[in-house]
Every structure is written in C-alpha cells, then in structure tokens.
Amino acid sequence: MTTQSMAGSPPRQTILVHSLMVRIAHWTNAVAMVIMIGSGWRIWNSDPIFDYYFPIWATLGGDPAASQDLHNELGLASALQWHFAGMWLLVINGLVYFIYGVLSGHFRRTMFPVGPRAFLSDLVAALRFRLPHHPGVYNAVQKVLYLGVLAVGVVMVLSGLAIWKPGQFQELAWIFGGFDTARLIHFLGMAAIVLFLIVHISLVIMVPKTLPTMITGRASVHGDETGR
C-alpha cells in the first residue's frame, strides 16, 4: 500500500498525452505563427485596408529607420522575405500534421465526436470556471476551438495563395471573391487566429501544468482520471 492510497486517493501515474509528432508540429507551428503574424503585420502597414497601423515593435522585418536610410522603404522588403520563407515552414509542417492526424487517428480520437449540445453545456461550464481539466481529453469547447483554428489555418493558406498569385491561381482568387476580398479574408483570418491565441495562452496561464505536458508529452494523473 502506498501513502497515496492510504490517504484515500488512487495512485498517481504519468500518461502520454501528446505524441512526439503532435509536440513537434505544435512548436514548429508556434514559430511559424510568430513569423507569419509578425511579418504580416509589417506588410499590412505598407498598405493598410483600414486606417490602422500595427506598432513596429510587434512586427517582424528589419529596423525601419535603417531600411529607410538604406533603401527608402520602411522594412517591407525584409518583412516580405520573412513571410515567403515562413510560408514554407507553415505549409510543410501543416501538411505533415494533417497527414499524421488522419492516418494515426489523432483527429478521430481527440477531436470527435463533437456536437452543439456538448459544446453549449461545456461552454456554460467553462464560463463559470466549472469545467474540469482532464489531461489527454479535450472538452467540447476545446474540440470546437481546435477544429475551428485548423479550418482558419486552411483558409489562411488558400487566401494567401490567392493574394500571392491572383494570376496563376486566378480560379482560387475568384473563389475568394477577387484579389481585394481575398486580402480582407486573409486579414480577418489573422484576426481570428490572434483571438484564438489570446484564449489559448490565457487558458495555459490558468492551467499552467498543461505547458510542460506540451513539451514532455506526459501528464501526471490520478488513476481515475485517465478514462475517456
């Protein structure tokens, strides 16, 4: 008999919550997000659709003063280089993740089933801070958010391709309502991803033990917490 069971609770054990592939894809994507959002904001600043400029410290793409001095431009060239280098990291990592997710059953196991009823009841519980966290099991709100941000990611890549090549990929640009609408969708998709990141990182701050789990893959649980 262990001390824990003598205290009345089942023995603690560690379980594998996130596979190595998921962890690699997650952190690679985190780097890609910083590159794409940071450089995207700088590119936005060169010709904003709305009269809003992102603060330079939050953007990626060279020291604007140096760029202006040397090239008579405010760091757009370097931001574009980051964006069109980062897109390879984003897309290759995304493809590996999607193929892995489908073939390994990761999506089927962790994201489904998910229905509106479960989503609503979990959402209400979450907003009352009464939704317990079970390592390795996504609640319905998490499932919807993760599936949603993955869908937005697909829209971002496709709308990005439509903006990059409105000529060679003109059918794609047409699907997005033309060049200008594709730009707007690309911007709104960024806004959705940033909103997701705010919620995502806030939840990690509220449940800090999830952070080491995304690095080591393992979580410490009570014996009765592993059930799905």
């Binding site: 400029y53 604007p64 040397l70 008579n72 370097s78 280089q81 409105p166 000529g167 060679q168 003109q170």
Partner: protein, 252 residues
C-alpha cells in the same frame, strides 16, 4: 524605433531621397529587436546569417515561381468601365521629380544578345503593330488598380530586333536611375507589352513617357517606366528594388 509610420510614409513619398547605396543582398537590421529575442533568443550579430537564409529562400521562391509560371495562361482582363482613368502615380521618389524626356531627341538604346542594335526613335516605335489591354496592376505593397495600356507586344518587338529568345533575361534601364529585369519566358508572354499609352492617351510624364513595360504577370515594380535602354543577357541583372530585398521573379 518610435516612428509614426503614417507620417514616415508620407515623408518617403514626398522626399524622393533614394540613396543608391548598396547592391543586392544588403538588408541591414533584418529583424526588429523584439521579434529577434522572441524568435531565437540569439544575438543581433547573427542578423547577417539570418539575412543570408532569407536571401536563399527568396532565390528558392524565384525557382518555384518560374516553375509555376504558365506561358500560355492569360491574366484576367476587365471592361473599359472597370479601368481607372486617373491612375495612381508610383515611384521611389515624389511626383515633382519625374524625368522630363524630350520625345524628339528620345532614342531607345539596345544592347546585349540582339542582332540589330540600331537605336529606336519614337516614330519608329509608334509604327509597330499595337494592341490594348485592361488588366490589374498589383503592387507589392498590397494595393492594386485596373488600368488600360496600349503598345506593341514585347514578343513582337524582341523578334523585330533579332533578340536571342533563348537567352535568360531581359534588362531595362530608365531615365530616373531605376532598373529592373525579367525572365525570358515572362518577356515572351502574350500580355507583355512595350506601352506608349495609358487610358488611351500618350503616357504622361508621371506615367513613364515615352516608354513603359506593362507586364501583368508580375508585380508593379517589374513594370519599369521612362525606359531608355534594354538589353538581352544570360547574366543575372537584378533590379532597383530586387537589389534591396524584393523578390526577383515577383510573379502574380
């Protein structure tokens, strides 16, 4: 670092103080500091290594775009009603500093892998077969504008001067010190025009009088204005913005 972006952009537009300092591949300060520490936690002295990776990625993207380029794929065309009459002025300096070219004395200089290097006068150029197009000019900054341009198909002109059509590049030099270059496949695209007119009128001084390349398969900065010389070559010629970090192929 505290720069009022909007004000700075206005100054850029008006000042016209382009400093032709450096050639290809020098983007000092390839990172903003905050992003640098966030990204890698590495020292600022590694900036040159980061920049060299970015340059190589840009060259890789040149190759990818050349492979994506379909020489028969036409860019979308638009109706007369969609064409902007008062087209936006765009250069690396202010509108007051555009070159004023005397049409009577103007000659287009040819060099490189060209059989007949006789300079072309404007009447000779205007005598070439002309066509019009209404296409979208897409700027690297993100804005775009539909316009109507009229001129000789560039392929026709290249054939007329006996250019080596198997060469890799066509380069351009302009009266304002601007220069650029394109790949031969894009030069031979049916919508690539050596233009004399915009909105059915002879190009005004701010639109590149007397000669502008209209190439709708590429971003706006690959459409040089005030062209005074062109050459055919197998040596990579670069370009004004390309040497400052813009992607060279810049296909649309």
């Amino acid at each position: 670092m505290a720069i009022d972006l909007k004000a700075a952009r206005d100054v850029l537009r008006e000042s016209g103080t382009a400093r032709l300092v450096e050639r290809r591949g020098f983007l000092k300060g390839g990172l903003s500091l905050g992003a640098l520490t966030l990204l890698t936690g590495c020292d600022v002295t590694h900036t040159d290594q980061v920049q060299s990776v970015l340059n190589r990625m840009s060259q890789w993207n040149d190759r990818v775009q050349a492979a994506l380029f379909n020489p028969h794929r036409l860019m979308p065309t638009y109706s007369e009603a969609e064409a902007v009459k008062d087209f936006r002025f765009n250069a690396y300096y202010g509108e007051s500093q555009v070159p004023k070219i005397d049409g009577d004395r103007y000659r287009l200089i040819l060099s490189g892998l060209v059989d007949n290097r006789k300079p072309w006068s404007l009447p000779d150029l205007y005598a070439l077969p002309q066509t019009s197009q209404i296409t979208r000019h897409v700027c690297v900054e993100g804005w775009s504008m539909i316009g109507k341009w009229t001129g000789v198909p560039f392929r026709t002109f290249l054939e007329r001067i006996g250019a080596d059509l198997s060469a890799k590049y066509v380069g351009f030099e302009c009266a304002d010190g601007y220069y650029s270059s394109i790949d031969m496949a894009s030069a031979l695209h049916p919508q690539t025009l050596l233009t004399f007119k915009i909105s059915d009128e002879i190009l005004g001084p701010k639109y590149g009088y007397p000669l502008k390349l209209r190439i709708p398969t590429k971003l706006g900065f690959k459409n040089p204005k005030w062209i005074t010389a062109l050459y055919v070559t197998n040596r990579f010629p670069g370009g004004f913005w390309e040497d400052r970090g813009y992607n060279w192929f810049a296909g649309v």
